[in-house]
Symmetry: C2
Subunit: 363 residues, 2 copies
Amino acid sequence: MSTAADPPAAGPTTSPPTGRVTISDVARVAGVSVATVSKVVNNRYGVAASTAERVLAVVGELGYESSLVARSLRRQSTNVVGVLVAEFEPYSTELLKGISSAVGGTGYELLAYSGGSDGGVPGGWERRSLSRLAGTLIDAAIVVTPTMVMSEANGIPVVAVDPHTGPEGTHTVDSDNVTGAREAVEHLLGLGHRRIAHLGGRSDLQSARLRELGYREALEAAGIAVDPDLVRVGGYRPDTADTPARELLTASGAERPTAVFAANDLSAIHLMEVAAELGIRVPQDLSVVGFDNVPESMTTTPALTTVAQPLHQMGAEALRMVLDLLGGTPREQHLRLPTSLVVRGSTAPPPSPPPEVGNSSAT
Amino acid sequence: MSTAADPPAAGPTTSPPTGRVTISDVARVAGVSVATVSKVVNNRYGVAASTAERVLAVVGELGYESSLVARSLRRQSTNVVGVLVAEFEPYSTELLKGISSAVGGTGYELLAYSGGSDGGVPGGWERRSLSRLAGTLIDAAIVVTPTMVMSEANGIPVVAVDPHTGPEGTHTVDSDNVTGAREAVEHLLGLGHRRIAHLGGRSDLQSARLRELGYREALEAAGIAVDPDLVRVGGYRPDTADTPARELLTASGAERPTAVFAANDLSAIHLMEVAAELGIRVPQDLSVVGFDNVPESMTTTPALTTVAQPLHQMGAEALRMVLDLLGGTPREQHLRLPTSLVVRGSTAPPPSPPPEVGNSSAT
DNA sequence: ATGAAAGCGCTAACAT
DNA sequence: ATGTTAGCGCTTTCAT
């Protein structure tokens, strides 16, 4: 009395109706032991050609593929490099493109893991992800913008890209934050700006401190004192940058900066939105420079002038470094790549200077 | 006689000098069994408060985190959704951003695996990756642009995004390729173009066929016969598009198209480079339209007019769909999202038409 | 409340 | 040439 929905109990053997094909399934169907199947699929010696053939046939028929998990648990290495990120956003995905292009032909596969944000403690996602994957799933790891110092205690090579804590414990790849920031500000100075504000990052992060340092250096070199009112913490994110951006832009008259150097593109873009809301035109009334050159920086109107980090190249170098480490090739601990200024539409000379004291046509 | 390179054999206990901290290490140090440690870290009942406290202290001290691999091997589910891609390129990473933004707050983690290209057979990476991960490492999978039909025989929910074989076996998310292509060509027609070429994708891929269909439909609706010389296979990639692009653009005089609709952005961008090389100005001498709207389409000069696929949204929808499937919520098999034309600088009216036969000033 | 033991799928010694 | 066994790190009955 079975209905059509009931599969006609083909065989109440060990095979569950659902689920994946395991090595035991192959062994049973081929009439050999699991060890033999393992030898066949791994091209080990000691298997008769006829047996191998039969096993391979069953493998093809059943579509068997060894489980990465079970295999890594047993084996020493997996041939997989892990890329640990907090989240897949513009910065990490650009890096990923560079890593991916460099992995071709190396025989390694890539596994990008996003174990950040939700759930546990805000900081420390990198340590947690690393502990969960190292030694079992991945042979080496590239950690993107870790907030904490990574100890290599997990027994696998680790390369940190743009570590927020500065190059310390581990091998690192980053870009020249200070020079990049200085060039951004020098660009504004060259345009004639004098009241240049800085919408900073997070004061606990190395990159933010270095970018602010570059800002200060450029100003001082030009003989301009840094006005504390013109420096705000923006937090790197649109939401955290909102209030400081408003404070900067609502200053009255001559107090208002004619240009802003933001610590990253995301906050620069948000500042441009705030400016638009306040009726401040970019670049006529206000020049804006960002940092990172993520793809999003080209989508604004006008497009954002920014300091480019060579993200693809940084990713590729990080992969090469971690593979060298894996192979025992000694590598320098820190690799720093140069930034470059990308001038687009958001910067222009400042509006005509306000009438000075003693000017003939004042008031 | 030990050199500085020899670590001073700290303790020949069971703990290897290298490698990760395992549950046994914690158990040994805390003086309890591994079962107890497991119970503590998983908040199971039946552990004395004092014991739990002690174990937790050791966990913190040693920085223990359970291995994803070992845990998944034993457990039914892993709370990890896999994203299977052939490679991390602009298309898949944009999707990834959408998937990542939608995963927040769901309690799931993301694992993007790139098991394509190198090594084995060109086709079938998706089947291989799925077999390797399904059932053990990941609870569900989103497969990006699979070339083959995916059977759900792996026992886990699968959603295919932009499947190259057309919506058949599995659940799918894609965009309206035909309408998108038609709108692209209608845009060119509206600008006054009549000789419109098509730099196609790969003829074995569904999306390429649909885009060519849209191209043909638009032309026919306008009463223009499709010139076979104006249709070339571009293969979706810069390298494969090179020769066909040259063939299209080196046609002499009036034979040369005044506009090209390319099957994707990458081949459109390469065609623009070829045009520049040949001294053909875009958009004055030639209009170009792409498809996808990957970030790279904004980096060209002029920026590329293209048909946007809502990639972030498609990724987010794919995640929602696969999570629904996981939770047993019934979902429609196919979800198709609309495309939209993004007009940028690479399209303009055609150059003034060549003198017609019977024109007074002809030759 | 705690621990011993089995077993997830697989590979690698070690028999036979 | 093939099979048996142990064990990777972990969770989970089942005893104690």
